[in-house]
Every structure is written in structure tokens, then in C-alpha cells.
Amino acid sequence: MQQKLNTFSGIVFAVYVWTCALAFCAIAGLLLYSVVSAGVTQVNWAFLTQEPIDSGRDGGIAPIILSTVLIIGVCLLATVPLGVGTAIFLADRISGKSKLAIGIRTALDVLGGVPSIIFGLFGNAFFCIALGMGYSILSGGLTLACMVLPIFVRVAESAIRNVAVDHYRAAMALALSKWTTTFRVILPRAIPGLLAALTLGIARALAETAALIFTSGYVTRFPESLNDSGRSLSVHIYDLALNVTGGNDRAFATASVLVILLLLINVVTHFVTRKLLRQS
């Protein structure tokens, strides 16, 4: 009887899990298909290498791709050290349970719930005006860093927290110093999880629009330095889709490029993760 019940609940659970997966794939497939089918026909070498002409309805998106890469770069440069440090602190078996840690965790969760437009206005007031960076790739990247941090820390924390149980005890038994435990024992084993956090962070950063309109700006020229304003792919899509008359097709073309870019980043991260896993 018990056995039958087990088999039955096993089947129900399997059906549920498969349904979830199929539902997700159906939605994702539908959405990506409608974006890519509307846009991919216009993506060609010229589109990738030219500057936008006629408000983006003609020409290409080369400077926009460059700006996007730079913005993401600045964002990661700020997020990774800050985020990994915070995650180690929060995941620590002693400091992570303190009142301070709960406070920090809550603060980060609240940060995650701040509307992107508030990030944009804040970034504009703080980075652009107060710190004098102006509309620039730098202020855009740093604003994005504030935005990505909560996601990055949460995922990184759970990666570090779960990896370390046995290793942490072993390190304690060996009387290893905190420094050694952190850098030689915990971090190397958390790398796959950290990469997952990074991928999610990059994805979030690539998807962001409202925070960037007010910080990295709207300029479609090739950026000459990090102090120049540069338009990101998502801002370009937003502008073409909502402000430029007849920009819809190009908006979908740009979205297709974004999807392809995301695919590339993911596949690369995946293989890096696998290589690292094999090594360790």
C-alpha cells in the first residue's frame, strides 16, 4: 500500500515538474520566437558595424554594442569585489548570523526592490551631478552595479554557504587561518555558484533601461572614453519601440542581437564553469 502510494506521489510529482518545465519553455519559446522572427532578418554585417542613421531607423548599432560592453564592464568591475566580499561576510557561519548580517541582508533585499527608475534618478543625482561624472558610461556602469548587487550577493551567498560545510569544518580542524580558509578552501569551490551569480547579474544589467536613460544617456556616437555618454542596447530598443515613428522593426532587430549576445555569454560561461569544475 505504502509502496503504491509512493509510486503514485512520485508520478504526480514528476508530472508537476515536467509541466513546469514545459510551460516555461513554451512561454520562453513563444516570446523569443516572436522577437527573433521579427528582427533577425535585418541583422547582417552592416547592421553590426555601422553607426545608426536617421534616429536608428537606418544604419547599424556598432557604437551601441561598444557602449553596452563598456557599461557592463564597469558594472562588473564594481560589483564583483563588493559583492563577493559581502557574500563571504554574510555566508560566514559566525558573522553571517549576527544582527548586523541580518540588517545588511535586509538592506540588500530592499535595494533589490527599488524601482529601476529610482535607481536612474539616484544615479543621475549622485554619480552624474554630485560626483561630477556627468552623463557617462562610468556613471551608468556604477548605477547598474548598485542595481545588480542584491541579486549577485544573494546567489553568491547561497553558493558559498552550501559549499563550505564539510570543507569549513576540515579547515577548522586543521587550524587554518581565516585568510587561507577563505581564499584556498571556500572560494575555489564556490566558483560555479559565483559564475551563476555573475551570469544573472550580467543578464540583469543587459536588460536594464530606466536606470540607464538618466545616467549613461542617449548619445549614439562611438564613445571615446568612459567619460562619454553612450547608449546601451536596451535603451536603443526602448527608444526605437516607443519614441521613434516606424522604429519597431529595428527595435526587434536590436533585440535579436541582444538575445544572440546573451546566448554567447551564457555558452562561454558554461564552458568556463565546466573547465573549472573539472580542475577542482
Binding site: 544617456g217 556616437r221 516607443l242 519614441n243
Partner: protein, 322 residues
């Protein structure tokens, strides 16, 4: 702390001692973290606004112009700016968006050299700012292409927007509910329509409120029962691309760019650039003047036409910075 192992097993004991000091320390230094990151990325701090006119060779204008404001005008000005840069290789024009009010604020505060606005200046604002009209846009009432109604009167519109006419059959359409789409507070289209229909924005009974132009178009394209109002240029363009969309004639006047040009169409709004009356330094003022002249020149009229706007005929005031 003689024994190293002691510290490793109970780091919390040591950490909590320094805790309060550390908290205070960092609460003060938090803003500096970002400055530190800035240095880490190895970059010098840039100049925010465009007040960096260098001495120019000859009379050729040079320097950097910053424009902020209305997202409706931004694509137009961005394109004009690109052409301006082609003619004056020492000038960089940065166009940023963020809404009409932002443009006016930034121009007033001097954060931007020129503000872009799709609404007229309020009396208080025009004390400090000079407007220059660069183009005109109309507001058309639109319905789905399959809707049999082709024409509408001011009185009917008023009743529809006040929620008194609720069915298309009352004004000669099919027996279907009217889904009324309105625009968000502060948009110049809303102000214009309220003034025209002589109603208060707060009395409008809407089913949908849209933000940007293309959003209001999509509300109508995707629902056969909807009525909305939006930029004539954008609506004409969408209709000409085969979208199921119809521009309603208003009081017998066709809603088209031609009607705005001839001055017959009642719902027109100016697209303006605003400049501070005082406070620009001489070099910057010269650059701004050159740009305004360029933007109102007949040579760039095709840009406005291309985006569905009506270029200004030059009959309206062109600001002279005095």
C-alpha cells in the same frame, strides 16, 4: 591573542569589538567608496555640462552642447545634432532624454545648455527661458481600422471622455462598448485635449492610461473598441505601414500633417528648444545660437518631415539671446 587557533575558532569575538568603530567609520566613508572605485577604474572625472568652450580657431564654433528633455523631440534633435556635428567638426552635441519637465528644469538650472519640451512654457518658466519652436506636431483621435466611424465632433468627444457616451452605436458605430484611452498627467497631449474639449483632466473617465506615443497607438491597434489620441505624425506613419489604424476627422477637418501646415487643424502643439535668458558664458551662448539657427534652418526640415512632424515655417519666434 597568543594562540592563532583561538582567533580562527571564534572570530566573532574579535569582530564584534571593532564592530561599532567600523560601522561609524564606514557610515562616514560610504560615499567615498564610489570615488575609490572611480580611481580604481583609472579614469579622470569628466565635465558634466557643456561649459567647456575652448578658444576656437577663427570663427568656427567649438565645444560641447548638452540637451535634455522630451523623449518625443529627442530623436529629431539627435538627428539634427548629428548633421550639426558633420558641419562643425569641433563641436560635440550630446542629446539626453527624460521628459519635458526635466528639460525645462535642466535648462533653468544650467545642467543642460538647451532643454527640449513638447509643451508650451508656463508663464513662470518663460520669465527665465527663451523658447524656440523647431517643429509642430498635431494630436489626432484614432480608432481601430475596422471601426466604421470615420469622423467625430468635439461635442461627441467631450461626452465620450466624460463617460456619458459609452457605446459606439450612439455615434454611428457598431453596438460595442467604447474603450477610452487617455494619457498620463503632465503630457502635453492631455493638456491640449482638455483645453480643446473644455474639460478638466480629473473628470475624464478612462479605461486605459498610456504613457508614450507608440503605447497609445498599440492600445488602439490591439483593440477594436478603443479610442485614443496621439501624435498625428506617428499615427499617419503607422497607418501607412498597414497597421489597422484610423485617424478620425475632427469637426470635418482631416487629421493630417497637411491640415496642421495649413493651420486648419485645431489640435497642434509646438516642439520647442528652451535656453536660459541669463547665465550662459559668451562662448557657450554663441554655440547655442549657432545650433538654434541650424535647427530652425530649412536645410534640416526634412528631418522633421521624416519623423512625421511639421517643420516650423519660420513665422514663429526665433529666440535671439540678448
Amino acid at each position: 591573542m597568543k594562540q592563532k587557533t583561538n582567533c580562527d575558532h571564534h572570530p566573532s569575538a574579535r569582530w564584534s569589538k571593532s564592530s561599532k568603530v567600523v560601522v561609524k567609520f564606514w557610515l562616514l566613508l560610504c560615499p567615498l567608496i564610489f570615488a575609490g572605485l572611480l580611481v580604481a577604474t583609472g579614469c579622470s572625472v569628466g565635465e558634466f555640462s557643456g561649459s567647456t568652450s575652448k578658444p576656437s580657431p577663427g570663427s568656427e564654433p567649438s565645444g560641447r552642447l548638452t540637451l535634455t528633455g522630451s523623449s518625443t523631440i529627442a530623436p529629431l534633435v539627435q538627428e539634427i545634432a548629428t548633421r550639426f556635428e558633420e558641419e562643425h567638426s569641433h563641436v560635440r552635441v550630446d542629446v539626453q532624454t527624460g521628459g519635458s519637465s526635466r528639460g525645462i528644469r535642466d535648462a533653468k538650472k544650467g545642467v543642460a545648455d538647451i532643454g527640449m519640451s513638447s509643451r508650451d512654457l508656463k508663464p513662470k518658466e518663460s520669465r527665465e527661458l527663451n523658447p524656440t519652436v523647431i517643429a509642430w506636431d498635431g494630436v489626432a483621435f484614432v480608432t481601430h481600422g475596422d471601426n466604421p466611424v470615420t469622423e467625430i465632433s468635439k461635442e461627441h468627444l467631450k461626452q465620450i471622455y466624460l463617460g456619458r457616451i459609452k457605446n459606439w452605436s450612439e455615434i454611428g458605430g457598431a453596438d460595442e462598448r467604447i474603450i477610452v484611452s487617455n494619457r498620463a498627467a503632465g503630457r502635453s497631449e492631455l493638456d491640449l485635449v482638455c483645453k480643446f474639449l473644455e474639460i478638466e483632466a480629473g473628470d475624464i473617465q478612462a479605461d486605459i492610461i498610456d504613457g508614450e506615443t507608440q503605447q497609445s497607438l498599440k492600445s488602439v491597434i490591439n483593440n477594436r473598441k478603443a479610442i485614443s489620441y496621439t501624435s498625428i505624425g506617428a499615427a499617419q506613419d503607422a497607418a501607412s505601414r498597414g497597421e489597422p489604424l484610423k485617424l478620425l476627422s475632427l469637426n470635418g477637418v482631416e487629421a493630417s500633417s497637411a491640415s496642421i501646415e495649413s493651420g486648419k487643424y485645431p489640435l497642434a502643439r509646438p516642439l520647442i528648444l528652451t535656453v536660459r535668458k541669463r547665465g550662459l558664458n559668451a562662448g557657450q551662448a554663441k554655440l547655442v545660437k549657432a545650433f538654434l539657427k541650424f535647427a530652425t534652418d530649412k536645410g534640416v526640415a526634412d528631418v522633421a518631415t521624416g519623423l512625421g512632424f511639421v517643420p516650423d515655417q519660420g513665422t514663429l519666434m526665433v529666440a535671439e539671446s540678448k
